[in-house]
Amino acid sequence: MKVRRVGDAALLIETEAPHRVHAAVRRLALPEVVGVVPGARTVLVTVRPGTDVGRLGPLLDDLPLPEIDEVAADPVCFPVVYDGADLDEVAGLTGLSRDEVVARHASAEYVVAYLGFSPGFGYLTGLDEALHVPRRDSPRTAVPAGSVAIAGPYGAVYPTPSPGGWRLLGRTTITLWDVERDPPSLLQPGTRVRFAAERARVRAVPPAGSGPKGTEVTR
């Protein structure tokens, strides 16, 4: 591992195992540490101003790492209605049928690499390579909470309504972000995630072309 200085109150640990380093730093429970933030290949450790970061560096460099199974959070499974606005476009970009896009998205196993963009927004690794498609050229100004989306090598579920440029495949009703909950985010760095196709629930006013009335919810 290489430890880089980030100003006078933070260190950046470069590692191929960010979740294990993240867990190991938290286990140390150092009183001067304010935040431990995993990235794609790093862990940022922020400390109280005035801390001697030069002394902290070697300590973090020699950190004994826990096994990944010890630190993995409880797995989460999202039931998804795959009726996203970009499903046809993703099918076109990948040369797959809509059903194949859904099947590939729902059969992969994902891990939350890190969170960012907005509170509770996890970047999920494990997306089928056939589904690696670029972001939309122009982002939407409003993406509803619960939107299941992909972009580049990542999958995600939008935790709150926000602008967004990812390709929308479907939606889930699971709440990802709730400030009254502890922790407020359903997803943590390292959480394992699965998706399961669910058939559309009946709506009060069915949109044109939707399924027959009386469709049962199946998971």
């Binding site: 950046l12 990235g39 794609a40």
Partner: protein, 279 residues
């Protein structure tokens, strides 16, 4: 006891020292952009340093006090009537305090003895303009409750933020200085502060930093004071509401002592950097 917002000015928000410790869940730090000025204002009225106050952006606000209060105004210097900067001031019940437009700097802080008491979200009363956490920016007619004071007032006045024509901010190189040919553009010539600056970051215009390598940086954690360099080569100084992770390399980071001065940089103003050797 309540305070009524008669006029919020261009942007008026409740701020304390923010939400540290949630960045791994994507929650920005937030809090007073010039935290040193908020801490000072709180000390002047006998509050804990992390009590919530009001952050004015380019002044222009008016607050009516429905009960007697002690207030302290710090940060970007404005005319306070009735009152003064950098000293505890007693405000009789029914007084409307008017805040002028700052002659220098951007952000003025108003601490009220007892602290602004709005419901905390994740341990903080700060308005976060990136994520939307915390109270909305204040609007005319809003009423703010005030908490209970705990400590006596022990200071008469204090040296506050001192405006500078062309600040020289101290930076430490890295963590990604090796992505650039040289950090020399930072120290030579300086930059002009862009009008597209806000609580998320201060954008700079001037000589771009030149990349030494292509490709994308895998997203990594960001800190307040980071000089993040997007593909156009012009650094953005991250302030309190910066995103928690980012995919552009950080060439250098401000020293903690200079964060407040960065938050007072005004569009059109010039700024330079001084590179400290790695510690």
């Amino acid at each position: 006891m309540t305070i009524e917002v008669v006029r919020p000015g261009p942007l008026c928000t409740v701020q304390d020292l923010g939400r540290p410790g949630y960045a791994h869940l994507g929650v920005p730090h937030s809090g007073a952009a010039d935290a040193a000025s908020l801490r000072l204002a709180n000390r002047l009225v006998g509050n804990p340093e992390d009590a919530a106050g009001v952050e004015l952006t380019f002044g222009g606000a008016a607050l009516r006090f429905h009960a007697p209060a002690w207030i302290a105004v710090t940060g970007a210097p404005v005319r306070v009537s009735p009152g003064a900067m950098n000293a505890p001031c007693h405000v009789p019940a029914g007084t409307t305090v008017e805040f002028g437009v700052p002659s220098a700097g951007v952000r003025t802080y108003v601490a009220i003895r007892g602290g602004v008491d709005v419901p905390p979200v994740l341990g903080s009363r700060s308005t976060d303009l990136l994520s939307g956490l915390g109270p909305d920016p204040l609007a005319a007619g809003d009423r703010l409750a005030v908490g209970r004071a705990s400590e006596p007032i022990t200071v008469d006045c204090a040296p506050g933020y001192e405006p500078e024509d062309e600040p020289v901010l101290r930076v430490l190189p890295g963590p990604r200085d090796d992505w650039f040919e040289s950090l020399e553009p930072l120290i030579r010539g300086g930059y002009e502060v862009s009008s597209h600056s806000n609580r998320i970051g201060v954008r700079l215009e001037g000589r771009p930093l030149v990349r030494r390598r292509d490709g994308e940086l895998p997203s990594e954690g960001m800190v307040i004071g980071a000089l993040q360099v997007p593909p156009n080569g012009l650094p953005i100084i991250f302030l309190a509401d910066h995103p928690t992770t980012g995919g552009y390399p950080v060439a250098a980071v401000l020293t903690t002592a200079d964060l407040g001065r960065a938050a007072q940089l005004r569009p059109g103003q010039r700024v330079r950097f001084r590179l400290l050797a790695g510690l």
